[in-house]
């Protein structure tokens, strides 16, 4: 098995378990326990999903943290050579608007623009399509697509809060959706948990089949580290928040971070939830060509024993 493990994470509170693992050297610990000796773990923080994909596919890293929808695309395009390794977090996504005339997604007009990270393939875009399918009928799933605009979260948030741009709505994730709601003009018109009828996984950890098969012990160590980190966060909210503030160098206050961690809708768990719903929908709309048999198809055997969906 390899002596060096390379992991790419992204920026934000969603990646907290990975930060805990990095700070507390949990993989090193579990690798040693598994008899692998001293494994070196290298961490990289990347600025976006596209770079993360490239990093994995070019063999520059072994594990990546990725959104659910990009994982499904990766799985489909690689013919199952890239799969989820474990879920990372569960989180709702809010569609916020500053347009007082919009009470539900039915009220959007040509004057409105909905910002989201990437049209068609981001989890936000899929959620919006699912909501549209519910509201306007399955064949009209893309009715709202023409209002959508690809924008990075902070740019979209600045645009929404400035109130002077064409951007009147933003389908986004923590912490941006909470920060937006601090502004009295902004309201939530859609919650992804309502669309899916319950919580769903937001980000996952993924790796390649080749790596997974050649490094079973190391994979076990990574899973163990993830479990321990999730456990740690659940039990030591305050300490985890402090660790996040210190390690990420964020300027958010500890109170803000803590209140987000305390939000019951958010959670950290390795068990995938509602992933198959996304995959099936994406297959129905033609975004992916192959349909997974069930959620286990999308994940390595690591988490097959869980009560996932």
């Amino acid at each position: 098995e390899v002596r060096e493990l390379r992991i790419a994470k992204q920026y934000g509170l969603g990646y907290l378990p990975l930060i805990v693992i990095e700070e507390q050297r949990l993989i090193e610990k579990h690798a040693r326990a598994a008899g692998l000796g001293d494994v070196k773990v290298t961490w990289a923080t990347l600025g976006g999903g596209s770079a993360t994909n490239d990093a994995l596919l070019s063999g520059s890293v072994d594990f990546i943290a990725s959104g659910v929808a990009p994982l499904i695309v990766l799985w489909s395009k690689t013919g199952g050579n890239v799969k989820g390794f474990a879920a990372l977090d569960t989180s709702p996504l809010y569609l916020n608007t500053n347009n007082s005339a919009v009470k539900s997604i039915r009220d959007f007009t040509d004057k409105d623009r909905i910002a989201l990270p990437a049209v068609k393939v981001s989890i936000q875009a899929i959620v919006l399509q699912m909501a549209a399918a519910k509201a306007f009928g399955p064949q009209n799933f893309d009715r709202l697509d023409r209002f959508t605009v690809s924008m990075k979260h902070p740019d979209a948030m600045a645009a929404l809060l400035s109130g002077k741009s064409e951007i009147t709505a933003h389908l986004t994730s923590p912490p941006f959706m909470f920060q937006e709601l601090d502004d009295k003009r902004v309201r939530t018109v859609l919650n992804s948990y309502d669309v899916l009828g319950g919580p769903h996984t937001f980000n996952v950890i993924a790796t390649t089949k080749a790596f997974y098969e050649k490094n079973p012990k190391l994979a076990g160590a990574v899973l163990a580290a993830l479990e321990e980190a999730d456990e740690y966060i659940r039990k030591n909210r305050k300490a985890a928040a402090e660790l996040y503030v210190k390690a990420s160098g964020t300027k958010e206050s500890l109170t803000d971070v803590l209140s987000q961690l305390n939000n019951p809708a958010l959670g950290y768990s390795t068990t995938p939830v509602n992933v198959a719903r996304f995959a099936n929908f994406m297959h129905q709309t033609g975004t992916i060509k192959t349909k997974p048999r069930d959620w286990k198809d999308l994940f390595f055997t690591t988490v097959h024993g869980r009560k996932g969906s």
């Binding site: 070019s58 695309v73 395009k77 049209v119 068609k120 393939v121 690809s150 740019d155 741009s165 975004t287």
Partner: protein, 284 residues
């Protein structure tokens, strides 16, 4: 043009004519620029194919053949043609405005000391700024859509073109400047009749650099400014396909940019060069 062969010559004027050294077929073929370049191009594309096949990782670096196939597909079904047109329209607008502003700035700079300082300063300040730095202002002033992209393109084109134009103007031989002034030319007439032509080699380099950077920026900007789906250009085409991991299509988009680049270089810049600086002996 045997008329040039003066009849005043001493002996047997008829005997003085063109002496063509016979060239072998090989030499003659080698003299054809497009053939040499075609050969090089074929070589580069073969190298691409070879490396990609050896690498065998279509999701990172697809083969040339797969790219060409994806290109054909995209041209026929994938709406690449309309993407190209959208991109070209925006590109030309940004390029044109950028060049016009650069000319204005460079002429001001050559005419007045304060203008010179201003160009110096503005170039030093803004040239190193990436397009994303302009994002907030662009959105503020032009909103979503091509207005903002044009603004960013102008930024990409303006500084290198102005820099080259100004350097070109400053390098004009004092004699030529004096000749121009001698005709009483001043201001824009002086710029048009003397500066622009005398600095043409530098201007051409500026135009080439500006053109390339307009493309680079356009593709990056189309991602950032995320045009509402549907009406995107090549950048958008690349971005969408990248998100969907249609890497062959991504490379098809890039190949399109490359082919347009080669086309513009050889059909526009090279021709322009031949009809100007090369003919005028200002460049070897």
């Amino acid at each position: 043009m045997t008329a040039l062969l003066d009849a005043r010559t001493a002996a047997e004027p008829e005997a003085i004519g063109e002496i063509a050294r016979p060239l072998s077929i090989g030499e003659r073929l080698w003299n054809l620029g497009w053939l040499r370049k075609g050969f090089l191009l074929a070589l580069l594309f073969s190298l691409w194919e070879w490396y990609a096949v050896r690498l065998d990782n279509q999701l990172v670096f697809p083969a040339f053949s797969a790219t060409v196939q994806a290109l054909g597909d995209a041209l026929v079904n994938g709406g690449l043609v309309s993407s190209i047109l959208v991109s070209l329209k925006v590109l030309l607008a940004g390029y044109g405005i950028g060049i016009a502003l650069a000319a204005l700035l460079a002429v001001t700079a050559i005419g007045t000391r304060l203008g010179n300082d201003l160009l110096d300063l503005l170039t030093a300040m803004f040239n190193p700024l990436p397009a994303i730095a302009l994002l907030p202002l662009a959105l503020l002033w032009f909103g979503l859509g091509s207005g903002s992209i044009i603004f960013v393109l102008v930024h990409a084109v303006l500084w290198p073109v102005a820099l080259n134009a100004h350097a070109g103007f400053s390098g004009i031989s004092p004699t030529i400047r004096m000749v121009g002034r001698n005709y009483g030319l001043t201001g824009w007439r002086y710029a048009r009749h003397i500066l622009f032509l005398a600095a043409f080699p530098s201007l051409l380099t500026g135009l080439r650099t500006g053109w390339a950077f307009a493309w680079r920026t356009l593709i990056a900007a189309e991602l950032v400014f995320g045009v509402s789906s549907g009406s995107g250009g090549i950048g958008w085409f690349i971005y969408e396909n990248k998100n969907q991991l249609e890497i062959a299509a991504v490379f098809a988009g890039l190949l399109t940019v490359i082919l347009i680049g080669i086309g513009v270089e050889n059909l526009l810049f090279r021709l322009l060069e031949q009809r100007t600086v090369l003919r005028w002996g200002m460049k070897q």
